[in-house]
Symmetry: C2
């Protein structure tokens, strides 16, 4: 029997479904950082038993979104700015390598698509200077394409299977947006140029510089203690409308 397209119907298990549900809830901040995730409550909330729920929690623990202590239960991780900065060091190293490999591996078609993506971004930057959420997603798309182009599943796994969720959570909750998307766009363009020229060394250098500048932008908004404020604002599940702090944080 040939493998039909519908034979790949995603065989979903309850634990898996609940896992992504809780995951999005955590990223959206419906479960505040540091809040306790007691099993009976969640089990009744999602209408399942504690068995699959526990597996979902272990999985989330593997994703780094939940921390578990033996007889005290699971809590949503509290992502401090220090941890976010640590992650950005990892991203600098890994995505720098990704850019280098992408310059070697990326197909011409992929490069063309990447340029097209930059055009879309350019329009978004020009058109709506306010609505930066799409911008963020587009930014992630850009970085993801480069990482994917490396043909290195390990790299993809680490960057977009482990780190991605935590960074996304922080971004989502602190509503950290790009204050200077035009600058980021320019940096993106030059990175793609280097890749198109098959200059892996330059691509790595530019990508590292790009992410490094984003890290520095994050590090500079330290005195405003934005995250703890965000946590306090979210604690009661109230929509947080913090003043979006300055920054050119986009990477």
């Amino acid at each position: 029997m040939v493998a039909t397209a519908e034979s790949v119907v995603e065989q979903t298990t309850i634990a898996d479904r609940v896992c992504v549900e809780i995951q999005t809830a955590i990223i959206k901040g419906e479960f505040p950082q540091g809040s306790k995730l007691n099993e009976p409550m969640l089990a009744t909330r999602y209408g399942i038993s504690r068995g699959p729920l526990r597996e979902a929690l272990r999985r989330l623990e593997g994703l780094g979104l939940v921390r578990h202590v033996p007889h005290a239960g699971a809590r949503v991780v509290t992502l401090t700015r220090e941890e976010l900065l640590e992650i950005y060091y990892v991203r600098e190293a890994l995505e720098g390598m990704a850019a280098r490999l992408a310059a070697e591996m990326m197909s011409q078609a992929e490069i063309t698509e990447l340029y097209a993506l930059l055009e879309v971004h350019a329009e978004q930057v020009k058109a709506v200077a306010g609505r930066a959420y799409f911008q963020q997603e587009g930014n992630w798309d850009f970085h993801y394409r480069i990482v994917k182009a490396t043909r290195n599943p390990q790299l993809v796994q680490i960057l977009h299977g482990d780190l991605y969720h935590r960074v996304r959570m922080y971004r989502y909750q602190s509503s950290q947006q790009s204050a200077r998307p035009d600058k980021a766009l320019h940096e993106h363009r030059r990175i793609v140029d280097a890749i198109a020229e098959r200059d892996g060394e330059l691509a790595e250098l530019l990508m590292r510089r790009h992410i490094r500048s984003a890290r520095r932008a994050i590090g500079e908004q330290l005195s405003a203690e934005p995250l703890s404020a965000a946590i306090a604002g979210i604690q009661e599940l109230s929509p947080h409308t913090r003043s979006q702090t300055t920054s050119e944080v986009i990477a």
Copy 2:
């Protein structure tokens, strides 16, 4: 109440204990790569129920040692040489960054200890040219100290919490050993020199070169199809005494 030393008695749960037991069994090759891990068998083998066992398996899946498909059970991952090479690209990027950060962060005491460690390694290299297992562990110790010195828990987690186990499994089962430990030792020495001089850029360059050469050494032993032979040899739980392939694989 002050925190006594014995208040840190590791509160261990059955799932945790079985997790490490299975983990070591997988690394040692008692469970061959690709072999099925059916739950009733393992449950009776370790004298526990299927509940904790499933959690242990999910945890091992998070560690990348086990792959799980929804209604077909869990299998030990098959680590191809391609994947190992992919991991070495990640290591090159990450440990290069680690060396750079270590050059900035490492205390003088740590540097002294690192030099002492190199002395021990030098004696081992000189004394027992054959028994390379200790050498491997020592090699890991060296790299771990540098990574730890970065004060970047994310880096430590990825390198020694995720990647470490898989590389160790490959190494253990293919009995890949250092054919030229003296060369590796020399490279180690120069890396520490750079760190001692607080030359992060040089430390990163040297570390990347060090790991890159190890990756190339792995990549060059391709035609000997060593891993599949090792798997075949292990399949029946028989001690595999393959001829240890050439290589200067040490990183």
